[in-house]
């Protein structure tokens, strides 16, 4: 993996092919668990961990897996990793384990995990695959964090509520009451808030892309290597 490949994988995961905003894979947890910043980031990081490990373990065995049982083997590997993560969370992050509930095992069926296994890790060397899984996971986590933060802020007027579930009772004071005496805006917490919020995020990303394109057209910079790629 050279520096250019590295850069492209990072750029793809975080922006160009962002799983939350562009590929739109894995919407179920994205919409269901993004009602608070802590929930959203926790599930995002759990998914990132699973994606990194699954891509890293699928890539080295890819040439030993016969084509016809490729998908059963990938699903098996992903299911094993999710179960391991579930055991660990149950043992060491019990509060979060209870809050995230069914969404931890549902990582197995999160489309983005199998999508990266199938479209990247099954064709690329382990290191690049691990990086791809990690960056795709981070890209998803970033979208989850923004969506969760905005929904929590508008819905409840706080940020980081429930942080004590993730980091222990000592973190209880970290909760930020951004708007004191806020009565809450229910729509943001309920599922429609997730759809509206995600729609706005996608629109925002498209707007940024269009603006960047327009800028590039009106101001044709000397064609550098990067501009050709972008």
């Amino acid at each position: 993996m050279n520096a250019n490949e590295f850069k492209e994988i990072v750029h793809n995961g975080l922006w160009k092919q962002n799983p939350g905003l562009v590929q739109l894979l894995g919407l179920c947890p994205l919409l269901a668990i993004s009602n608070s910043l802590v929930n959203a980031v926790s599930l995002g990081l759990a998914t990132t961990l699973v994606m990194t490990l699954s891509s890293a373990s699928i890539a080295p065995v890819r040439s030993y897996v016969p084509n016809e049982i490729r998908i059963p083997v990938f699903v098996l590997i992903i299911a094993v990793l999710v179960t391991v993560v579930q055991y660990l969370m149950n043992a060491y992050m019990y509060g979060l384990y209870v809050v995230l509930g069914i969404f931890i095992p549902l990582i197995v069926t999160n489309c983005i995990v199998l999508a990266r296994a199938e479209s990247f890790a099954s064709k690329n060397p382990p290191l690049a695959s691990a990086l791809d899984g990690f960056m795709m996971g981070l890209g998803l986590t970033a979208v989850l964090a923004v969506l969760g933060g905005v929904r929590e802020l508008i819905g409840k007027g706080t940020l980081l509520s429930g942080i004590d579930l993730a980091l222990g009772d000592g973190a209880k004071d970290w909760v930020i009451h951004v708007i004191p005496d806020y009565h809450g805006f229910l729509l943001a917490i309920l599922p429609p808030g997730a759809f509206i919020g995600l729609g706005l995020l996608i629109a925002g990303k498209n707007w940024l892309n269009l603006r960047a394109e327009a800028k590039a057209r009106s101001n044709p910079a000397p064609l550098s290597n990067e501009a050709v790629q972008g």
Partner: protein, 217 residues
């Protein structure tokens, strides 16, 4: 034909190989974590119980002093549950029961309640629910002290009429716009007290397993 059989077997062997490795990893992880998980679950349960039965009021190992309770319509349960008894110097102090209000606004509301030996409620807590956030969730102790309005209440003085929300002519407060949720809980707690009245002696009976405390079966 032979070739198909052979390639099928080879491929299946490959799949089995991955299954064996996967199973080994899971077994190892389970072996490493299951004790911690059991301890965490017990500690969480004890934390919940200590909210409604003050730890200073009893001196037995409340988690070990358990009895299995068959599913019962009065408790709203559909599967076997576990009750715990708090004792002080061998005398029963309170029993901790699981109960379910099946008719919440958004499905079942799981409750845990402690009833003192004299039939008074020591406390009630909501363990899980799916009521509307910001509207019906004032039943959570973290959001509102409403659930503590059960403390000290019993069927010793109040009957079915009083054991209703105020809107229905009873004694229990509720918030405007969200009466279905508290109505379901009041009903469930009332029914649980009826269950307690009918089964008081069995619930407080000395548990044979618990008297030989410490020894695991």
């Amino acid at each position: 034909m032979r070739r198909i059989v052979r390639s099928t077997l080879q491929t299946a062997a490959n799949l089995v190989f991955f299954a064996i490795i996967g199973t080994a990893i899971l077994a190892a992880t389970y072996g490493m974590t299951h004790e911690v998980i059991e301890r965490t679950v017990e500690a969480e349960k004890l934390k919940l119980i200590s909210q409604i039965v003050p730890p200073a009021s009893y001196d037995n190992d409340i988690l070990k002093d358990e009895r299995h309770i068959e599913a019962d319509a009065l408790l709203g349960t559909t599967t076997q549950t576990v009750a715990h008894v708090a004792r002080r110097k061998g005398e029963p102090v309170a029993v901790v029961l699981e109960s379910i209000a099946p008719d919440g606004y958004a499905g079942k509301i799981a409750l845990i309640l402690a009833i003192r030996a004299n039939g008074e409620l020591a406390g009630v807590r909501v363990v899980s629910h799916k009521e509307t956030p910001g509207l019906g969730d004032y039943i959570e102790i973290a959001k509102n002290p409403w659930i503590t309005s059960f403390d000290g209440k019993s069927r010793n003085i109040w009957g079915d009429k009083e054991w209703q929300v105020k809107k229905d002519g009873g004694q229990f407060e509720h918030m405007a716009g969200a009466t279905i949720t508290p109505r379901a809980i009041v009903k469930a707690v009332n029914r649980s007290l009826l269950y307690f009245a009918a089964h008081r002696d069995e619930l407080f009976a000395e548990n044979i397993a618990a008297t030989h405390a410490g020894g695991k079966p």
